[in-house]
């Protein structure tokens, strides 16, 4: 299974699992990154990090290392 950080720009994938420490994981889950949610990387910041992702119609800035904790599956 691939992580969100390795997903090509613009491809819509589904969240499979969120890993990492408890507080971290729960935070992302509460923001709506629960398994099954569609997510895509919109752009990468000019310096290569963070990523701009789209989830549930909203856009977020998330660091590459954090995106690597989000396992995704093809949609």
């Amino acid at each position: 299974m691939a992580s969100l950080a390795e997903t090509p720009l613009g491809r819509i994938v589904a969240v499979a699992a969120v890993e990492g420490p408890r507080a971290f994981r729960r935070r992302l889950l509460e923001m709506g990154l629960v398994p099954g949610t569609s997510v895509r990387i919109v752009t990468v910041a000019p310096l290569g990090d963070p990523l701009r992702i789209e989830v549930r119609g909203g856009q977020w800035s998330i660091r590459r290392a954090e995106a690597a904790q989000i396992q995704v599956a093809p949609r």
Binding site: G20, P21, R22, A23, F24, R25, R26, R27, L28, L29, E30, M31, G32, V34, P35, G36, T43, A45, P46, L47, G48, D49, P50, R52, R56, G57, G58, Q59, W60, S61, I62, R63, E66
Partner: protein, 732 residues
């Protein structure tokens, strides 16, 4: 924590009896503050929550029939799991723990363009047994994609009122809905059912809830399910193995902690997933299509573009910086001139004497020292208000995160750090744009290292007087001082985030919402500028005034001349020329200053600063510079009897510094001493106003003392290394 309510000053006071207590909750960026302003009008007051750097806005809301209720604006949060000071406050305010009054009803803002996400917080509130009323915001922005209020109300099981704060549409309906909610019976609404294993754990932990946390105490009558919600909260927030909470300063009763630790089974994310499962089932059918985000996408295409985006960013930041640095200076000069003029007028009326000097130099000078900060504060918050409102500030964090992160700073720390080049006082206030306290304090601790405009006169004097060489060399040294300050600030941030416990980074996701672009609201921006300025004057200004009067007295008393000093007054009377008279009076001033308590303090600290290459005269200058760094120049002017109006470009003062000799006839100030002195000024926290504003922003004495301590030690050690190292290498 004391009892919480909205009246009066920065600390909580008892609520007005019989006044319904309301709170306004919601995610960030859902128009919550705009709604709050529209609901409370001019009655709103901004103050701090006791003990922490979270702002609390309070105001009065008039219910139908003229009844007045207190409305409290909570920090914007996505949930209430108490991982940060903000969420702890939201929890306390929603539940009525931690000394906060139990709210009689809660208005929850739901973003019509992001219903499911913003409803997550509502579900938590409902589970806790709050009487919830939903204010559906951003309806105009959502347009046709906004859900129908009636259908939403049926699904969510609470009243829903669509509001548009700008046109005030729906505000009266909202007030009426709140009024109805206040009379409704309390119930805890759970839209999901815990599985048996979780159920058992909730039951076990809710047994351990302290009496003051139980619904029977908080609500006056037991509410079924409400205690379960608090037990679930404890289960989710307290680390199962250690019992420590996700936030170190989280206030959790020991019995509750112990009960959670005693629960053996590892807990999963059942509650979060169950809420989202419910939301994903119930909400989408109500939202016909996603909101139109084409405009935001188009703007982002330019503003976040790989190269073009940086161009715009640099342009915006340059304007911000230039305005602080250049545009504010006419206003600063005008304020400065006005207070000088007032002082001169008063001196003319009162004549000479201790009382007149106290009023003119101490009080009026001190008030002037406070007021000169206003232009920069107003300008900075004008910019910040617009940038925040329109959504660009979040993009700044996105663009800058890579750089700031390498020093463990928040992406949003960029603007305060940049503002620090103008002045640390508004820059420290600008740390408010960061949500987390740890990020704010870490930024506050390094912002004063940036080369502020008050250091410039000191550098200009020292470079002009002591650094030989062409203008090019001198210019390069000035540039080097700027680079030095940036590098030290970044290194200091990196070191402190790894060593100072409260500043250590928590392993929380650095996720920033990039809200859609919106038109800024001038009214809201002006309101914030006014709020920040008045709060600065009220809380930091009074401290600065008191300190500047104390410093004035330190350098003014005692008035008598030391034994054996010549009678300058008599000599001046018989002086042959006006110039001779002036220089005699300047000499008298110099002797008086040397004899003052401040002058003696300069002498007293000489052994401590001698290893840095400084003599007692620099010591007096350093004491005087505590009022503001540029005062170093005029203090030295007095010490060297070239007059108190000497500025950094004054040739007599520069010459006096070059000519100064120590007791052995050597030059007191060599180029090496000059570099050591500049390094000291670059690093030492020689600024009472910065300390006052850090005290005000952190609501503690600990942080300003820490700031002063670490910067002074850093300055001493670095100057020592520069001076002694330079001497070892054969420089002079």
């Amino acid at each position: 924590m004391t009892q919480a309510s909205c009246h009066g000053g920065p600390e909580w006071r008892d609520p007005v009896p019989d006044r319904p207590q309301l709170v306004l909750a919601g995610n960030p960026n859902v128009g919550k503050t705009t709604l709050f302003n529209a609901l409370t009008g001019s009655s709103a007051k901004v103050s701090n929550y006791p003990g922490i750097t979270v702002e609390a806005a309070c105001g009065e809301l008039t219910l139908p029939g003229g009844r007045v209720a207190d409305l409290r604006d909570l920090p914007g949060t996505y949930s209430i799991n108490a991982r940060s000071a903000e969420e702890q406050i939201a929890l306390d305010a929603l539940v009525g723990t931690g000394g906060a009054p139990t709210p009689d009803a809660v208005i929850v803002c739901l973003d019509a363009t992001q219903v499911a996400r913003s409803a997550y917080l509502l579900l938590q509130c409902q589970e806790l047994g709050a009487r919830c009323v939903v204010a559906l915001t951003m309806v105009d922005e959502a347009g046709a994609s906004a859900p129908a209020a009636r259908a939403l109300a049926a699904v969510l099981d609470c009243e829903v009122v669509a509001v548009t704060a700008r046109t005030r549409a729906g505000l009266d309906d909202l007030r009426a809905a709140v009024d109805r909610a206040l009379r409704a019976e309390r119930r805890a609404i759970w839209h999901w059912r815990p599985q048996p294993a979780l159920r058992a754990r909730i039951d076990a932990v809710s047994e351990a809830l302290p009496t003051s946390w139980r619904s029977a105490t908080r609500y006056g009558a037991a509410v079924a399910g409400a205690d379960d919600a608090l037990a679930l909260w404890a289960l989710t927030c307290i680390e199962p193995l250690t019992g420590s909470a996700d936030d170190d300063e989280l206030v959790v009763p020991d019995t509750l902690r112990a009960a959670v630790v005693a629960e053996p089974a590892p807990r999963d994310d059942e509650a979060v997933l169950a809420r989202w499962t419910w939301l994903d089932r119930e909400i989408p059918p109500l939202v016909s299509r996603p909101p139109d985000r084409k405009l935001t996408q188009r703007i982002d295409h330019v503003l976040l573009h790989r190269t073009g985006g940086f161009g715009v960013f640099i342009a915006v930041m340059s304007v911000l910086f230039m305005s602080l640095f250049w545009w504010a200076s006419p206003a600063i000069d005008a304020i400065d001139g006005l207070f000088k003029w007032c002082g001169a007028q008063l001196q003319g009326v009162l004549g000479d004497g201790i009382f007149a000097d106290f009023l003119v130099q101490g009080v009026i000078g001190g008030v002037g020292a406070v007021m000169v900060f206003l232009p920069q504060i107003l300008l900075l918050f004008l910019f910040l208000g617009f940038l925040e409102d329109c959504g660009y500030l979040a993009r700044v964090a996105y663009l800058m995160d890579r750089i700031m992160r390498s020093m463990n700073l928040h992406g949003r720390a960029f603007v305060p750090m940049l503002s620090g080049f103008a002045c640390a006082v508004p820059a420290v206030m600008a740390t408010r744009t960061m949500e987390r306290r740890r990020d704010r304090i870490l930024t506050m601790m390094v912002v004063p290292l940036m080369t502020c405009s008050a250091r410039l006169p000191v550098y200009t004097l020292v470079i002009g007087a002591l650094i030989p060489g062409s203008r090019w060399v001198q210019g390069l040294i000035m540039v080097a001082m700027y680079l030095f300050s940036v590098v030290t600030a970044l290194i200091a941030a990196w070191v402190m985030s790894r060593t100072v416990k409260p500043l250590k980074g928590k392993r929380l996701p650095f996720v920033i919402e990039l809200p859609p672009y919106r038109w800024p609201r001038l009214g809201g921006v002006i309101r914030m500028m006014w709020g920040k300025s008045s709060m600065f004057l009220r809380e930091a200004g009074t401290v600065i005034l008191a300190c500047s009067i104390a410093l004035w007295a330190l350098l003014y008393f005692p008035r008598h001349m030391p034994d054996g000093a010549p009678d300058y007054d008599a000599m001046a009377e018989h002086a042959p020329t006006e110039d001779a008279r002036a220089s005699l009076l300047a000499e008298k001033q110099a002797v008086q200053l040397a004899n003052s308590y401040g002058g003696r303090l300069g002498h007293a600290i000489e052994p401590a600063i001698k290893p840095l290459g400084f003599d007692w005269k620099i010591g007096v200058g350093i004491v005087g510079a505590f009022a503001a760094r540029e005062v170093f120049v005029s203090t030295l002017g007095i010490v060297y009897a070239v007059g108190s109006d000497a500025d950094s470009r004054s040739e007599p003062l520069r010459q006096a510094l070059r000519d100064a000799k120590d007791s052995r006839g050597q030059h007191s100030y060599t180029p090496l001493v000059g570099i050591s002195l500049m390094v000291f000024f670059a690093l030492a926290c020689q600024c009472m106003s910065t300390l006052a504003v850090v005290r005000r922003e952190t609501r503690s004495l600990r942080w300003p003392l820490f700031l002063f301590g670490y910067m002074t030690v850093l300055a001493w050690i670095t100057s020592f290394v520069v001076y002694q190292g330079g001497r070892l290498l054969g420089f002079s």
